[in-house]
């Protein structure tokens, strides 16, 4: 050792970087591949959104015909959900979770690479419908009998089914990997109740993916059999049941909503304490609220089906309202964390606060839609479009950008430019609300979703125009983000290991971290090991007074780990 000093970070193999990225099994590189791939699909689906909004700007059919319009909103929804929001959050999870639990990599690195590479393949298959006579056009929900061969004869729907099945397989494999990683790869001292909230939300998300996605896969296969081999699962003329598709789709689809929002909640729960200079208020309550949401998410699916007349309205209305409670608990966690904190409004924090405000609106409209008397009036109107965009976009996508600004310095070693970040945030925030807030009123005044045209006498024209202006503003807001990323990669301010004075272990290593992640790990006595290393008992540890620290920690209210430690006899 003494004579041959080899820098372990030097490239051991003289491989081209292209081959290196194509064959990598490093969770950090795979995480970046996930994120870049997801953003490419985000821009593609965003262009489709502009097609939709352009067509709706004024009454009449100006730009596209009805069939193209149907394909546009189907592809927009499918790609945004399955190839942007879910995988981009998996990408951040891939990069951050092993770092936050002090692990060198994911549990199954090669399966990790496989689950990534299935994504672009599945996404391209879904899109390739455009090359073969038209993409799928029955909405991202693929309702039977509209998706049956009789009404959607094109091969686009079959490609949609195959692509989604691949993407679903990818997320199941990813979920197995996350759960195994979190249970088997934690560093010594990293007990379950010392895990960062982001890791907890990824864990619950992975369990939801593991249990919900296979049901969708079964349904997609059934639909494929109906369309191609003369099956009759969803064909009532030969004994099948079209409502069955809705049950299968939403049994998956509602947990999917939480698959999309829980990791974003985790991101926000990492950011708010750091930029409020306080520990997260009610760590354990937050964890149990996350688990409760996970459990309840399997018992609310039929609130998407109130108007079918085939579901038990009181039960699903009750469960839907119930799931609002743990979500409300989290709102209090975040607000109480910020209360009397020393708040800095850096860009990640702006996006996190944006998340709180927008997700609150989406949550309230969600509880409204969960009440059958209201839902019967608003089913399939723009009110639903408003609700789902406040949750998916105002919630998850704000969380995605918060994560991007927060962890970019760790991933690249460079800071993003703050003024450009703020321009991005405000354009994005105002554009988002201009686009989607009017949808509430459009829905209340009866505008149905998924229509390409509307009457000039309907009174929907002005609100639609405002919405279209907002959509273009969102599109413009992406430019400062892209410029920021490119400029910062070339010439950004060096970030150092811990630019935000963070709490969690990813900030204990270099930016970007070496392939094996950590040279050495700090001692882990709480859910904020790095904070204590830099601010708390660092001095005490240095002076050999560890047990005093333990006692002090056990006395502190935010410290839940002390008890766990005693119970499990880990000290």
């Amino acid at each position: 050792m003494a004579t041959t000093t080899l820098d372990p970070r030097a490239d051991t193999y003289g491989r081209s970087w292209v081959l290196d990225w194509l064959t990598t099994v490093d969770h950090k590189k795979i995480g970046i591949l996930y994120i870049v791939n997801s953003f490419i699909f985000f821009f593609a689906a965003g262009i489709l959104a502009l097609v939709i909004r352009s067509e709706l700007a004024v009454p009449g059919l100006q730009f596209v015909d009805v069939e193209t319009y149907n394909q546009a909103f189907t592809m927009h929804g499918t790609i945004m959900i399955f190839l942007f929001v879910v995988p981009v959050l998996s990408g951040f999870g891939n990069y951050i979770v092993p770092l936050q639990i002090g692990a060198p990599d994911m549990a199954f690195p090669r399966i990790n690479a496989l689950s990534f590479w299935l994504l672009p393949l599945g996404g391209l298959l879904i899109f390739s419908g455009y090359l073969f006579g038209g993409a799928a056009a029955e909405g991202w929900t693929g309702y039977a009998p509209l998706a049956a061969e009789r009404f959607s004869p094109g091969v686009g729907t079959d490609l949609w089914i195959i692509g989604l099945t691949l993407v679903g397989t990818a997320s199941i494999l990813g979920a197995v990997n996350f759960i195994a990683t979190i249970f088997k790869m934690r560093a010594p001292g990293m007990t379950l109740f010392r895990m960062p909230i982001f890791v907890w939300t990824m864990l619950v998300t992975a369990v939801l993916i593991l249990l919900a996605t296979p049901v969708l896969a079964g349904g997609l296969i059934a639909l494929f059999i109906d369309r191609n081999y003369g099956g009759s699962f969803f064909d009532p003329s030969v004994g099948g049941n079209p409502i069955l598709w809705q049950h299968i789709f939403w049994f998956f689809g509602h947990p999917e909503v939480y698959i999309v929002i829980l990791p974003a909640m985790g991101v926000v729960s990492e950011i708010i304490p750091v930029f409020s200079r306080k520990p997260l208020f009610g760590y354990k309550a937050f964890v149990f609220a996350t688990i409760a949401i996970g459990l309840l998410s399997f018992s609310v699916w039929a609130h998407h089906m109130f108007t079918t007349g085939q579901v038990l309205l009181p039960f699903f209305a009750f469960m839907t309202t119930l799931i609002g409670i743990p979500t409300g608990v989290k709102m209090f966690n975040w607000l109480a964390t910020m209360w009397r904190g020393k708040i800095t409004l850096a860009t990640p924090m702006l996006f996190a606060i944006g998340f709180l405000a927008m997700f609150l609106i989406g949550g309230i409209s969600g509880v409204m839609l969960g009440q059958p008397p209201i839902d019967f009036h608003l089913q399939d109107t723009y009110f639903v479009v408003a609700h789902l965009h406040y949750v998916f976009f105002g919630g998850s996508v704000f969380g995605v950008f918060a994560a991007a600004y927060y962890w970019f310095p760790k991933m690249t070693g460079r800071m993003l430019n703050e003024p450009l970040g703020k321009v991005h945030f405000w354009l994005h925030f105002i554009g988002f609300n201009l686009t989607f807030f009017p949808h509430h009123q459009l829905g209340l005044s009866g505008m149905p979703r998924r229509i390409a045209d509307y009457s000039p006498d309907a009174g929907w024209t002005i609100l639609n125009l405002i919405s279209t202006v907002g959509a273009f503003m969102i599109a413009v807001s992406v430019l400062p983000f892209l410029i920021n990323v490119v400029a910062s990669l070339i010439n950004g301010e060096p970030a150092g290991d811990d630019p935000w004075e963070g709490n969690t272990l990813e900030w204990a290593t270099t930016s970007p971290p070496p392939p094996y992640n950590f040279d050495r790990l700090p001692p882990i006595h709480s859910e904020r090991p790095l904070f204590y290393l830099t601010h708390g008992h660092g001095h005490a540890v240095a002076a050999g007074r560890e047990h005093e620290v333990e006692e002090a920690e056990e006395g502190a209210d935010e410290d839940v780990a002390g008890d766990v430690e005693k119970r499990e006899g880990l000290v």
């Binding site: 979920a175 088997k184 010594p188 593991l210 079964g218 059999i225 009759s232 699962f233 004994g239 049941n241």
Partner: protein, 203 residues
């Protein structure tokens, strides 16, 4: 893991960090994968029961076709259950370090699995109705077909296991793959018991 405080399980030699269970990561991965498979078959069973509940008239093969061959299906059930036992004998053998017996029992399990598949194909060829003949046919072939596909996947796993055992790659301390394949094989067996009970017994 080597630079950290770690303890090795004396029986499996598997290294674990403090406070974490001794189940090898690969086995946990297989268990989680099986959990997702349970949900997959759960969905297919739900479609079966939904179709059955909403079907008008008598539930069963379409008029004019043969009745289901419950005797053949019963024999195949016995074959598959037997294969679960032979698989487990192989696992117990390698836990004792007896690789010769592992080869023997894996080989027998593989033969039984292939026999099940051939029997199922023969059954399909004699039934006289197809996937497209009404909702019973659709659900029947989907459930039994996807189960058959999983048996096929299991025989691929068994073949790899046998090849590796022939090369002497397993020992009492190192046989996670054997445990994982056997776990999957037992799962496929249990699914068949559910399929058989649902389609043939709950008439």
């Amino acid at each position: 893991m080597t630079t950290r405080t770690a303890t090795a399980d004396p029986h499996t030699g598997h290294v674990t960090a403090h406070g974490q269970s001794a189940m090898p990561t690969a086995l946990l991965g297989m268990l989680l994968f099986i959990a997702s498979e349970v949900m997959f078959f759960g969905g297919l069973f739900a479609t079966y029961f939904n179709a059955r509940a909403s079907a008008a008239g008598e539930w069963g093969p379409p008029a004019g076709a043969h009745e289901l061959d419950i005797v053949l299906a019963g024999v195949l059930t016995a074959v598959l259950i037997a294969s679960s036992f032979t698989m487990q004998f192989g696992v117990w053998a390698i836990r004792r370090g007896n690789i010769g017996q592992l080869r023997l029992w894996t080989g027998i399990t593989l033969i039984l699995g292939v026999a099940f598949l051939l029997g199922q194909l023969y059954d399909y060829s004699t039934l006289g109705f197809g996937l497209a003949d009404g909702v019973f046919g659709t659900t029947f072939y989907t459930l039994t077909g996807f189960h058959g596909a999983h048996v096929f996947g299991g025989t691929v796993g068994l073949t790899i296991l046998l090849a590796r055992a022939m090369r002497g790659q397993f020992s009492a301390r190192n046989h996670v793959a054997v445990e994982a394949v056997s776990m999957y094989w037992h799962f496929v067996d249990v699914v068949w018991i559910a399929v058989f009970s649902t389609i043939y017994l709950l008439r």
